[in-house]
C-alpha cells in the first residue's frame, strides 16, 4: 500500500536495491578476477560445470531454437508473400537468428535453467553454513564456487547459441517449404548469402557476455541469500529477473557497439 500511496519512496527503494545489487555483483566480479590464478587448479570443477550447463540447456535449446526459427519464417514470410518476396525469407531468418534471436533466446533458456539452479544451489549452501565452513577453512568461496560456474557458462552459452542458430534456421526452412512453398535450396542459398562473418561473431560474442553475466548475477544472489528456504526462493527469483533485465540492457549496448 505504501508503494502505491508514496511513489517517491517506491522509486527511492527501487533505486537503492538496484545500486545494492550492482555494488554486490561488482564486488564479486573484482574478487573473482583476483582469483584468475586458480583457473588451472579449478579445471576439473570447470569441466564439471560445463557438463551441467551444456546437458541442462541442450534439450530446451532444440525446442526454443526450432520454434523461434519457425515463427520468424512464418511472420516474415507471410508479410513478404504479399509483395511476392517470400523467397528471401531465408535471409531474414538467418540474420535474425544469428544476430539476435539465437544469442538472446539461448541466454534466456540458460538464465531460467542454469542461473536459477546456481542461485538455488549457492543459496542453500549459504543458509546451511557451507559457505561459512569454506571461509573458516580459508577457502575463498568465490574462487571455489563462483569462478568455475562463471567460466563454464561463458563458454557454454556461445556453443549452445551456435546450435540454436542452426536449429532455428532449419526450423525456418521447414516452414518456408511447407507453408510458403519456397524450396530448401533457395532458402539456404539466401540464408548463406546474407550471413556475414560479423553477424556470426557478434552474436557469439553477445552470448559469451550474457553467459558470464547470468552466472555472475546468479552466484551473487545465491551467496547473499538469507532467512532459510524462503530466502533461497527469493534469491533464485531475483537471479532470473535480474539476468533477464541485464541481458536486454547489454543486448542493446552490444548491438549498438557492433552495428
Amino acid at each position: 500500500m505504501n508503494y502505491l500511496t508514496n511513489p517517491f519512496r517506491s522509486i527511492t527503494i527501487t533505486l537503492s536495491h538496484i545500486l545494492e545489487t550492482l555494488g554486490m555483483t561488482l564486488t564479486i566480479l573484482i574478487n573473482m578476477v583476483g582469483q584468475y590464478r586458480l583457473i588451472p587448479k579449478r579445471s576439473k570443477a570447470i569441466l564439471h560445470q560445463i557438463e551441467i550447463c551444456a546437458l541442462g540447456g541442450f534439450p530446451v535449446a532444440i525446442i526454443v531454437g526450432v520454434f523461434s526459427g519457425m515463427v520468424l519464417a512464418l511472420q516474415a514470410g507471410l508479410a513478404m508473400a504479399e509483395f511476392g518476396q517470400e523467397t528471401l525469407v531465408g535471409s531474414i531468418v538467418a540474420a535474425s537468428m544469428c544476430r539476435e534471436m539465437g544469442p538472446v533466446m539461448t541466454s534466456y533458456i540458460l538464465a531460467g535453467l542454469i542461473g536459477s539452479t546456481m542461485a538455488a544451489e549457492l543459496g542453500t549452501m549459504k543458509v546451511s553454513e557451507e559457505i561459512d565452513a569454506l571461509e573458516v577453512m580459508s577457502i575463498n568461496p568465490i574462487g571455489f564456487l563462483v569462478l568455475p560456474r562463471v567460466l563454464a557458462l561463458a563458454l557454454v552459452c556461445p556453443l549452445l547459441t551456435i546450435y540454436t542458430n542452426l536449429i532455428g534456421i532449419l526450423g525456418g526452412g521447414i516452414v518456408s517449404r511447407v507453408i510458403l512453398k519456397v524450396n530448401f535450396s533457395l532458402y539456404f542459398r539466401f540464408a548463406q548469402e546474407t550471413l556475414t562473418l560479423k553477424d556470426i561473431y557478434s552474436g557469439l560474442f553477445k552470448s559469451l557476455i550474457f553467459g558470464f553475466i547470468i552466472a555472475l548475477v546468479s552466484c551473487g544472489q545465491g551467496l547473499n541469500a538469507e532467512n532459510g528456504a524462503a530466502g533461497v526462493g527469493k534469491a533464485t527469483m531475483k537471479a532470473v529477473v535480474i539476468s533477464f533485465i541485464a541481458i536486454l540492457i547489454f543486448d542493446y549496448f552490444l548491438t549498438w557497439m557492433f552495428y
Binding site: A133, E135, S138
Partner: protein
C-alpha cells in the same frame, strides 16, 4: 589466546551483544552457555571473522582480527577448526573429499598422504571406510563426527564447537562429548564449546560463562557452576521453566514494538 574486549554486535535494530568481554587461555576448554538467541553462535562467528563487530576488539594470538587484512585473516583462520551446528558438510562432495578439502586446497600434503590422513582421522572418530559415502546418506551423529574430522584434519590450535549435541539422541550426545574431551587431551588444543547441553559443559569444560541479554552474567569453573547459588545459573543448570530468565523471543518482540 583469544580475547574479546567490549564487543558489540547488532542485526538491524536488535542488539545481540552488548559489551562482551572475556579471555580464553591456550589449551583451555571454555564453554559459553545461554538461552537460544542470546548470541552464542554470533560469538563464534566473530571469533573467526565471519562477522565483524560493530564495536570492540577480537584478539586472536595478539592479532586484532577486526582490523586484519583478508590475507592476515586467512592466516589466523588456519589456526581454527570449526564444528558447525548443522555439520556444514559440502553436499556435492563425498565424506573423504569433504575431510580432505582443507588439505587439498592449501596443498599441504601430497595426495597419497592426504588420503592416508583422512582414513586415519575417520578411524580415530570411529568412522572407518566411510570415504565414498555422500553426506546426504549419513545420520545426524555421523554428520557431526565427519564434520569434526574435517575440523581436526589440519591439526588446528583452536577448535570451536557450535552446539555439538543439538538434535542428537542421548547416546550420540555422550559419544560427541567424549570425543570433545578426547580431542583436547590427545591434541592439546584450545576448545570453545557453545551449548545449552549441561552434560557437555560438565564433561568437557574447564571454565563456563553464562550469556544473557548480550552480556556475561555469570562465570566460573564447571564444578562451581554445579553448586552456584545464583538464580540465573540455577534456573539454567536445572532447566526450570520458572525463574529470572525472561523469554528472549518476547523481549525481541517488545524491543521491536518499542515497549
Amino acid at each position: 589466546m583469544i580475547e574479546f574486549i567490549d564487543v558489540y554486535k547488532s542485526f538491524n535494530d536488535h542488539e545481540v551483544l552488548k559489551g562482551l568481554t572475556f579471555k580464553v587461555n591456550q589449551g583451555e576448554s571454555f564453554a559459553i552457555i545461554g538461552r537460544s538467541g542470546c548470541g552464542k553462535s554470533v560469538t563464534l562467528k566473530l571469533m573467526t571473522g565471519l562477522l565483524k563487530p560493530d564495536k570492540g576488539k577480537v584478539i586472536i594470538d595478539g592479532i586484532d582480527i577486526t582490523k586484519a587484512t583478508p590475507g592476515k585473516l586467512a592466516q589466523v583462520r588456519k589456526k581454527f577448526g570449526f564444528l558447525f551446528q548443522s555439520g556444514a558438510l559440502l553436499n556435492s562432495l563425498n565424506v573423504g573429499d569433504n575431510i580432505a578439502l582443507p588439505l587439498r586446497e592449501h596443498r599441504e600434503l601430497p595426495e597419497p598422504k592426504i588420503m592416508g590422513r583422512v582414513s586415519e582421522t575417520l578411524k580415530r572418530l570411529g568412522l572407518k571406510h566411510l570415504e565414498h559415502i555422500m553426506p546426504g546418506e549419513l545420520s545426524g551423529g555421523m554428520k557431526k563426527r565427519v564434520s569434526l574430522a574435517r575440523a581436526i584434519i589440519r591439526e588446528p590450535e583452536i577448535i570451536l564447537y557450535d552446539e555439538p549435541t543439538t538434535g542428537l539422541d542421548p547416546i550420540m550426545c555422550n559419544v560427541i562429548n567424549k570425543l570433545i574431551v578426547e580431542m583436547r587431551q590427545k591434541l592439546k588444543i584450545t576448545s570453545i564449546v557453545v551449548t545449552h547441553d549441561m552434560n557437555t559443559v560438565f564433561m568437557a569444560a574447564d571454565r563456563v560463562v553464562l550469556l544473557y541479554q548480550g552480556k556475561i552474567i555469570s562465570a566460573g569453573t564447571a564444578a562451581e557452576f554445579k553448586k552456584m547459588g545464583d538464580a540465573y545459573v540455577k534456573q539454567f543448570v536445572l532447566g526450570e521453566a520458572a525463574g529470572p530468565f525472561q523469554d528472549e523471543d518476547e523481549l525481541k518482540l517488545k524491543e521491536k514494538s518499542g515497549e
